[in-house]
């Protein structure tokens, strides 16, 4: 049921709304079907980011990909977290680590979802921040990749989305924007710092492309 709903919403309505009205240029990410599991790592400027990434996924794998979202924002109440879970397929995580209690630990939750066979969409910048400004990456993504090094990450870079729907303004304005994917890549080191540097390098290359 959820699979059909997600396909109708993202592969049809959201997809054409973004393409025709907002003016987002994005490819259909067919190459992801070949990857068994992956983590899409993207920059974050707008609520439209998740929508665009989901709309670019082939409908065959759409229901197997969970965008990771902050529980305090998308799961304020029980109903809201149910709705986010159903319509965005979101994996809600707390912002702070909780090593005492693995059930409530964001890193543990992400690894658990991977072990269940899901792929993830992660925004390592954390919050959306100022429109079109980059922020330092948070270590969470590196901690997850380090634990499951056989899973590749897929860098994705979006431009202009922060102008279409920035933080602090709920009005969507058509604005030309784009999403570009990089190659699925495996991490080359177990160091958190160097994993983050590797991802930042991917972002920079995609930005200039």
């Amino acid at each position: 049921m959820q699979k059909i709903v997600l396909t109708v919403i993202y592969s049809f309505f959201v997809r054409w709304f973004l393409k025709l009205i907002i003016g987002v240029q994005f490819p259909k990410a067919k190459f992801l079907v070949k990857e068994k599991q992956f983590i899409i790592v993207a920059n974050h400027n707008s609520h439209l980011d998740t929508m665009t990434l989901m709309a670019s996924l082939p409908s065959k794998i759409l229901h197997k990909v969970k965008p990771v979202a902050a529980a305090d924002h998308f799961g304020k109440s029980g109903i809201q977290s149910k709705l986010s879970g159903f319509f965005i397929n979101a994996l809600l995580i707390p912002r702070k680590r909780d090593k005492e209690n693995p059930e409530n630990d964001p890193i543990h939750k992400m690894i658990k979802a991977l072990d269940e066979g899901y792929s993830l969409i992660l925004f390592p910048e954390g919050t959306r921040g100022e429109p079109e400004k980059e922020q330092p990456l948070k270590p969470g993504v590196a901690l997850v990749l380090r634990e499951r090094p056989h899973i590749k990450y897929v860098p994705a870079h979006m431009k202009g989305m922060g102008k279409a729907m920035p933080k602090g303004d709920n009005w969507i304005l058509p604005h030309k924007s784009s999403l570009k994917y990089g190659e699925p890549t495996a991490i080359t080191s177990a160091e958190v710092e160097s994993i983050l540097t590797q991802i930042e390098g991917d972002f920079r290359r995609l930005k200039e492309k």
Partner: protein, 317 residues
């Protein structure tokens, strides 16, 4: 249903001839580049092939939208305006505090096209140049962010003039009253305008590639040459003369108006080039393969449409 789709197309031989001509040219171009590609595998025809393919899509869309039903044409041209507006304003880099005014500007697109649709000429012709000209600064002022406000006021209204007011003249052609003894009507005029403007672009490009030596304005557009410009002017005027049956004009008037389409189209082209230079992009987008963005294709139309419209309006209506 009959109201929405009536196949006037089959009842009007003049338009049918030109549609056949357009497809004839496209078939010729596709065959030519296919053969050149086979015979000389080293020749770089990929760009030309991409361009021709895109021309096919654009021609089919344009002919589909204008020939079958005028109602669809208004919506299609309005959407074209919207996409062009979006491309241009996104390039110009507005402030975050301009968002509400930009929203107003976008909202004026359906109003402008509705005025064209109901044929209320007086309101249509002042709506953007007067009403929006006065209202947009008000919305910007209400927001209260004065740093850089002059630039926002100027570029927002200018964008609206170029992409909405200019392009909407294409739609108003369809609302012109019927003239006795002139059967092609607004569709004929629209077809004449778009065909000549685009053929002028192609002719300038072709003559420039064949003979181009002397650059006109190397600082703005290094590919524009005197040979291309003059070659385009002459060929477009000649082609326009032979297509004069699509207009209610006399022979001399058709020659003049074709010349003006070629000239204003060129001006529109270099104006857009200069903006691209200013903001530092090569093409305005990747919407149409081989051509760049929508703007790269309709920059000439934004200039030739009002020029053509007002000359014809003065001479024949």
């Amino acid at each position: 249903m009959k109201d929405i789709i009536h196949f006037k197309f089959f009842e009007n031989n003049d338009i049918l001839i030109v549609v056949a001509l357009i497809f004839g040219i496209l078939i010729f171009a596709s065959t030519l580049f296919f053969i050149v590609g086979k015979v000389k595998p080293n020749a770089n025809v990929k760009e030309l092939k991409d361009r021709t393919k895109s021309w096919w899509v654009m021609a089919v869309m344009f002919i589909g939208a204008t020939i079958f039903s005028t109602k669809i044409s208004y919506v299609a041209i309005a959407f074209l305006s919207f996409v062009a507006f979006r491309e241009l304003y996104s390039m110009l880099g507005f402030r975050d505090s301009d968002r509400r005014a930009i929203f107003w500007a976008i909202f004026s697109i359906p109003i402008q096209y509705y005025l064209a649709y109901i044929g209320w000429y007086g309101a249509y012709i002042i709506f953007i140049p007067v009403v929006m000209f006065l209202l947009l600064p008000l919305r910007l002022v209400l927001k209260g962010d004065t740093i850089g406000i002059t630039k926002s006021m100027a570029s927002l209204h200018w964008t609206l003039m170029l992409t909405v007011f200019g392009i909407s003249h294409m739609a108003y052609l369809l609302s012109l009253p019927t003239l006795e003894g002139f059967s092609s009507g607004g569709r004929g005029l629209l077809l004449f305008l778009v065909f000549l403007t685009e053929i002028n672009d192609v002719m300038q490009f072709t003559w420039g590639k064949l003979l181009g030596r002397h650059k006109i304005i190397p600082k703005v557009s290094p590919n524009k040459t005197w040979e291309g410009f003059v070659g385009g002017l002459i060929s477009t005027t000649i082609i326009g003369y032979f297509l004069g049956f699509l207009t209610p004009l006399t022979d001399y008037q058709v020659i003049f108006v074709s010349f003006m389409i070629a000239f204003s189209g060129f001006v529109g082209d270099i104006v857009m080039s200069s903006i691209k230079r200013d903001v530092g992009v090569k093409d305005t987008g990747e919407t149409i393969p081989g051509h760049g963005g929508i703007l790269d294709r309709i920059d000439s139309l934004a200039y030739s449409a009002p020029a053509f419209f007002h000359i014809v309006y003065y001479l024949a209506y």
